[in-house]
Symmetry: C2
């Protein structure tokens, strides 16, 4: 009954997390003389760069996510476990899955790759999370979609009841790539896609406020591209406010110092911190909770334990930190797999070097900025086309690439967002709350 | 600011429910000299005949549902409200939306079309609903999908932990069209689609039990087609048990008399009852809660109040009840719209007559039965092709038709279900429960 494709004699590699780093490590080891166990809390690998498109109802969850089992089904040496890690024993070389009193258990490893990624950081205000969700998972994306669509529905209902339209304010906190994407995409949806569908409200009158604590949007990009992004955002009707530090969030209100900004929906793009699994390893971490690794991405004193992706604190030759972006995670995943193959083949270990192929940030329909090596900076429509092309190219699975392409083309031509579903019952509770409250 | 496309002088038609009856009534009135308000608890119209495909992870929610606003956006005389009806005043001619102390309000009508549909019936055991979900909404479908996929994941995790595979039992209660679809589709997913993806369990060993209280499956169909459906189900590895009345459901166990059948997942296809809005009207209803209407589908004594779709208790000329199927709901919706136009034009009212164009029940990949007028009965592959063709044809919106066609073709050829996502956090709680419990 048990199709035992794994051998007890081969070294076991346990991979924790099936994000870009973990899935690429596992794929690169598919033909190596090892047995692999991939563990994730979700059953799917998510193409995170397109999450905001789910949040804004352009794409459906299934178009940017694939079951981990499906991605790895041809790797006969790989098994996948849907489960939660509750502990590590680096001395005994085991990871603990779930609660052993129930159906949890300890899983031994010879090599461990911890690629558990990052989560939202609320800077000491965990109570803000419920009021201002961030965007890291499919659940986050559908929750944001639900809040935005419900805000329009509530405004329309009140407009019909009182024959007077209320202002619809959207506040996005943090002008990093996620905040800029969300603000731009809300502008798209409100000012272009929804215009014909409401009777009592005019979605074009929505106010979209992007708050940034620092002096400019997209601070990781060169100043000229930041300035271009800010111009493009303003052109799209987004109110950009820099040096605006949020001091409080309560239902329906964001405070910046003494100013209270009313908000039907509040979204968080202000910061991430490393997965708590980093601290659970019991090794030194930096102040964002990332594990400080050796140049070969191993934990000091444990050459068999690798950390890859957003959970690793790594620096480039120029002293700059390796950014928490998909290409870096992919490179680290592949690098880690290669080190394990090197060890098994008796070859020396290497030093991880991040190859920067450029970076792009999208702002909305036909708006983006891009920075390529050789100091090439582009903005606007052509940057957006590059973004589109590159993201389609890297989507996992041909089927998704093909369907997403059709979906985008359809949506671009017809201004029709068909994934605009509110799919839970929270809208009913919503009705019981007073006007203009977030949630 | 208010694009007032509606006039205060034209009669107002309020349509409650945007299922097949409501949406067809609204569409048929789009050019009539009336103003229309469509009210639904959901923001989307769902193509219910394909819900089980979402439950079994073949299709994504967005492929079988469209926002109601999008479907009706070209009807300038129509407004849409996402809201919950909490009362009727047939004398004052108003419907009450939500709680008026908060943002609820009373909406006046000149003509009312109540098309609120049906919900699950648990025959006096409301506590079974949580243990054995039925299939009426997108939320039901994604919940069923989550339970089925999580059952396989839990079995695999336990298989890896203990290197021993546990039996995977699926029990479907009720062999009407929904129960038969679900049982057949679980067989497809377990015995064909998932086979290559697990290492510790063999999904083909899953046991699928279909329990029917009556003497045969699909009792609304002629006996020869019932027999054929039962043969097809058995061929697909489904254990069909007729005259098996369920006496109790507890977590992980279905009891039929003294026999206790263990079940990783329990699904309900045994019965529906009318929406509680029927009783809320304060007019006579039948024992299933359907409103007893006059031949023109109006409520006795209220010629301005129509009831259409599954909520209406209507009989055919031969004394048989009109079945609760999509074509009947569509015909009633259109009929109701025509009556309102007749009244406005001073023409006499008509008597509703159901035109039976045949009925189809699908059992799984390449399996179905079909009955067409003229006593034409077909079974198997050609019945399934007819089912496929007819359902594609009636899917709302060209985009959905096109995408679903591609999705089906892809899935049929590659055996790859890409909508197989578990998208909520319940799988974590799942881990804390003992083995083989439903939930």
């Amino acid at each position: 009954m048990l199709p035992m494709t794994q051998s007890v004699n081969r070294p076991r590699v346990v991979v924790i997390g099936a994000g870009f780093a973990g899935i690429n490590a596992a794929k690169a080891l598919a033909k190596a003389p090892v047995d692999i166990t991939v563990i994730d809390r979700k059953n799917h690998h998510t193409f995170q760069p397109l999450l905001y498109q789910v949040a804004l109802a352009v794409l459906s969850p299934a178009e940017i996510a694939s079951p981990i089992r499906t991605v790895l089904r041809h790797a006969a040496n790989t098994e996948v476990i849907l489960g939660q890690i509750t502990g590590f024993d680096l001395e005994k070389r085991t990871v603990r899955l779930g609660d052993v009193r129930l159906d949890g258990f300890d899983l031994p490893y010879d090599y461990l790759i911890v690629a558990a990624g990052a989560t939202h950081a609320y800077f000491g205000h965990p109570e803000w999370e419920e009021l201002a969700p961030g965007l890291k998972t499919l659940e986050d994306a559908t929750e944001i979609r639900r809040r935005i669509l419900t805000a329009f529905e509530t405004a329309e209902r009140q407009g019909i009841a009182h024959r007077a339209a209320l202002p619809l304010n959207f506040v996005v906190i943090g002008a990093g790539p996620t905040g800029v994407e969300l603000a731009g995409a809300i502008s798209d949806i409100a000012k272009e896609y929804l215009t014909r569908e409401f009777r009592a409200i005019d979605p074009r009158q929505s106010r979209i406020v992007l708050l940034e604590g620092g002096p400019r949007v997209l601070p990781a990009y060169p100043a000229d591209l930041s300035a271009s992004a800010e111009r493009q955002l303003k052109q799209m009707g987004v109110e950009v406010r820099t040096n605006a530090m949020v001091t409080n969030i309560e239902p329906g209100i964001v405070s910046v110092g003494g100013e209270r900004i009313p908000a039907a929906v509040i979204l968080w793009g202000a910061g991430v911190s490393a997965s708590p699994l980093g601290k659970m390893l019991g090794v030194p971490t930096d102040k964002a909770g990332r594990v400080i690794v050796d140049p070969d991405l191993t934990v000091p004193g444990h050459p068999e334990v690798f950390v890859a992706g957003d959970l690793a604190s790594v620096h480039r030759n120029n002293g700059q930190p390796v950014p928490g972006v998909a290409p870096a995670a992919i490179q680290m995943g592949k690098f880690t797999a290669r080190q394990i193959k090197n060890i098994l083949a008796g070859k020396p270990r290497e030093k991880f070097e991040y190859l920067d192929k450029g970076s792009l940030a999208t702002i909305g329909r036909s708006h983006a900025i891009a920075e390529f090596p050789g100091n090439i900076h582009i903005s606007g429509y052509f940057a957006w086309l590059s973004w589109l092309f590159i993201h389609l190219l890297f989507l996992v699975g041909f089927r998704n690439r093909f369907l997403v392409m059709i979906e985008w083309a359809w949506s671009y031509i017809t201004y029709n967002h068909s994934a605009r579903l509110i799919t839970d019952t929270a809208e009913e509770e919503e009705m019981e709350k007073p006007k203009q409250k977030a949630g």
